[in-house]
Amino acid sequence: MLTGIYPAGVYSHVLSTKHGARLTSRDISLGEDLELWVRVIGDGGATVRYVVQDYPRNGTVYPVADLSGDWKWQRYDLAYWSGDDVHIELTTAADAPLLVKNQPRSWFGLREAIVRRKDQPAPVEFSEYLAPLFDAATKRQPKSVAELAALYGDVIQAAIAAWQDDSASDEQALLLDACLRQGLLPNQTTTLPTAAPLVGEYRQLEEAIPVPTRVPGLDESVGRNQPLFERGNHKHPGDPVPRRFLEVIDSAPYATEQSGRLELADDLLRPDNPLTRRVLVNRVWHHLFGQGIVSTPDNFGRLGDVPSHPELLDWLALRFEADGWSLRKLIRLIVTSGTWQRSSRASEQSQELDPENRLLSHANVRRLEAEAIRDVMLTVSGRLEHQTGGTPVDGNAPQRSVYVRVRRNSLDPFLRAFDFPEPSATVGRRDVTNVPAQSLTMLNDEQVSGYATAWAQRVLQLPVDGEAGAAQRQRIQDVFLSAFGREASDGEVERSLQYVAATRARIEEQQRDVAVLERSVAACREQIEALKSPVRKRLLDALKKDGDKAVGFVPEPIGRWEFAGNAEDVAGGAHGELRGGAKLVDGALVVSGGGHVVTKPITKTVREKTLEAWVQLDNLDQRAGGVITIQTPDGVFFDSIVFAERDPRQWLAGSNNFARTQPFNGPREEEAAGQPVHVAIVYQADGMVIGYRNGKPYGKPYKSNGPYEFKAGQAVVSFGVRHLPAVGNRLLSGKIMRAQLYDRALSAEEVAASSGASSDFVPDSRVMAELTADELETIARLNLDIGAVEAELKHLGSVPDEINDVALWSELARAIFTFKEFIYVR
């Protein structure tokens, strides 16, 4: 029933621990070498601290202590802050100024707070609660256990009586509290039948207390005049300035004990204060016309420009007051005026006499604000999702731009490119700049491109009347209407349709060009292969006849997969299982479209290791597929021979989170699509990772913090996937002729020997070594031709394989995004 009985002090939970509370002391000016002692108790996340310079966070010199269920003396050394003012602060968990904990129940209690010089003994802790017993005992010394027990009884009863009387001393309160905790006093509703119904009622009421939702704000407590900081420098405080309105208008200090904000708010809104309303209506005018009556909306008076039409400004301000400060009425008033509805075509006369258009003889050309540009793209693309309220969103979310999160030193790049201001100060009048970032965004941003495609899709899905031509024209009209708010002229419709047609023609032409170039590359490659393959066949046959001649040199792997009709491990027992459509064809494992192999667990623990594979890729542009991988069965830890994960056409020693991965920076792989290559990665015991290709070192070795140890029975090998699970971009597309796993780091010679010894594989270097000088010259010339053609292909860029309406109309949409009319209003 009772949580505690307390000595004299300040407590936050007298009625309920749901109640929020904050206790602060007055400011204490710190001299040298002082310390603070507070005697505190609390729970549930309540805290005690001293506050300096109103700093709300904790830190090395801003200690904050959590309160626990027992009384304790908490000490703070204040020497660091001598010269500053501090105050003491205790708060419940959810009421800290910044370090809020969302715990609905918490409480604190404070008995004493002392600021004093440091060099003194600590406050003595003693068992205060025993004091009443000792007091009584001095008067009647107990001589037996029974007497002692009686003494206890009397003292406790006296304490209870005093407590009922509200006259209990601190010691008596603590004694009773100790008794409660020891269970010496009845404290259950079952043992206190008279109290029970009252307690029940209390509990009902307490239950009903709502836990308030806190929102950050300012709390009114004691108002204080602040010193003027000279030049804004807090280290140069001047005289205190009384809290009041603008001195030049009314220098009388506000007559209030509190902060004075309420009085300031009242003054800002008083009927005889024209300033606020003038500023407000001017901002609305600026928003609607592109320039305010006062062209410096953040600065009126001496620091700003003079109003072009002061009487109009006042009239609007008074009208605004009369209309009850309704922004809607003000906007309606302005936009229904003749002035606002004028076109933006300027007469010769106005250009001569009024180049700034202060007389508003025509509308100003205005650029849309960043938010509006983004919103227009969302709207035309059909992506916009209406919502009211909700949490702030990311820049690529489909909500209106007002909902995009504003993180002041990490603004959304799209909005920033279009002059979204840095929110460190008020910006009533935004810049309208021309920075290349804007054009680059409209030209090359992926998200913008996505909007264009979505727009095209939406337009093509519109119901239209009539046949092809008429339908197309209707679509163009829809595009112009949603982008520019007007119809397209006949000429504009024709030009737009011509553009769509020209795009189709261009793509078709480029497709033809690409096909021709690709055919010529293929022809060169065929010619090269025609020279090489007889030689290769001859060498292969010789190898097969001689068997493993170079055997002596070649190291023994602990796992060997030859993929000769099965995925068995002929060296160990880690047999492989075909998955995802992997196939065995002509002595090789074919992995593509998700096919891969996972073996049974390895039977030896492997720390330093070598991964080795003979692999041919389906294409050289694939990224991040794995050839051979050793990993924990869940794929969380792995080492792998990976193709082009970080950099295109680069072999890489892949690992979990790149923990043991750095680029080899070897030469770009150009051959592995036409022929098999031998790749090996050696993981030394000292952490060095060395890559090899066709028996020769590949790129530069590097030091990792490996090697990682894969334990026997707790690791598997996979082929064709960077690591398990086999999803996403981890899958390889190609074929693996053979793969081997070693439990030691092979030397460079051993790798070289191993690369030459496979009976399925003849390294290209050996083939080339057997060709005649003429043949080599021909091959060199053909390679040069291939290089030239591939450069041309690169220059052409990516050309879509297929032309469809969406692609063509997306192109039109992309073009329209770059129109000035898309972002300028006239």
Binding site: T60, S344, Q351, P436, N444, K820, R826
Partner: protein
Amino acid sequence: MFDRYSRRAMLQRTSAGFGAVALSGLLHEAAMAERVGLPADAALKKTHHEPKAKHVIFCFMSGGVSHVDSYDPKPILKRFHGKPMPVKLERTQFNNNGNVMASPFEFEKAGDSGIEISSMFPEMRKVVDELAVVRSMTTPVNEHAQGNFFMHSGFPTMGFPSAGAWCAYGLGRENRNLPGYVVLQSGHAVPPHGGVSLFSNGYLPAQHQGSILQADQPEAIRNIRPLDPQRAQRERLTFAESFDREFLAEASGDAQIEAAILNYETAFRMQASVPELCDISGETEATHQKYGLDSDDAEKAAYARQCLLARRLVERGVRFIELSCLTKGIGAGGAANPWDQHGDLERGHGAMGFQVDQPIAALIADLRERGLLDETLIVWTGEFGRTPFSQGSNGRDHNPFGFSVWLAGGGVKGGTVYWSTDEFGYHAIENKCGVYDLWATVLHQLGIDHERLTYRYSGRDFRLTDVHGEVLKPILA
């Protein structure tokens, strides 16, 4: 915002479209430039006096370099090592102050000038005669974000233009195909504490903000890589331009629309000029070696890449180039404050020194060889120094009361020292100077009177040096 060209002037400037470059416009601007000495987009019509430098390279050592371990030798630290500081200690950020800590680095006189530089920067010793070392720099702020803002903009909070923005604003761009203020990053570098606001244009026009350029990525600038092949882009922009010209006429030749049209031409050209800038395949093997581009230390290689690109940016006329250090994760040196060795100072500063020493020395030597050093002012500084007494057992806390910076090139008097701090390197005592003086000097070398390059904002004329700053004449040639 609404100032306009006269219609006659507008008609004279019709662009030739995207089939060819806007030749007429370029010729017009070139003529303008010759006549007044500064590019057309400069705020100043001409420089206030004869400039010595045309470019600035700002080597910012985020986190705070310990001066007593690098450019400010203090032999007394050895004698007092392990003993309490004999003077009152000011507040430090972490309040975990130890005793005097001697420098674990060895100082050595270098060059003809005999300036002492520690073993943290052995390569810099070879170019010491190009340096003007200022040992009496101070700053009023002692924490990273504030210190970074203050060092960049002269104000300890965000919202004010960075020095790079001021230079680009005042002097304009010599190369219209590249930004005037470029911030180089590479590898895993990030902006220092304070974020991209450190490179902000503040209240100056937005085109002067720092453009972040990744020195080692194919997408060096955001959205620079064309999504479409060149021909597709050209045809698209030609199609758009026909509508734009009509819209421009409808809008009575509004100048901002004209400028927006030209902007696309600039962006289009940047798609070629930026990759050209970043393509270092034409650089010799000797250059690779000199800068340390192929270092095994990934961070050093990345920083070397920035230094090489800095030289290329100078060659291409970029006004203000800022470099970014990469963290080695030692002591408290995180991504945004790599030099911040509150602990493990010897190892951390050793690693960071290794990262920047050779590349910066190579940059200085390279610029000298190519005859570009005299017109390129290099500024090297962190946001504050570090304490001569330890933090904990082997680190140093921040010290704003005295630290070292150096300048090179750009008409600075090489081989000079502008001193000094007290015997412990704790407080600057002679020729005390501040950040305002540093930028006043930089602007001076660029031909700008720092008191006269102003911008009216919020009712007053702001400047980079606020209402302070003296040019440090003794370090100028």
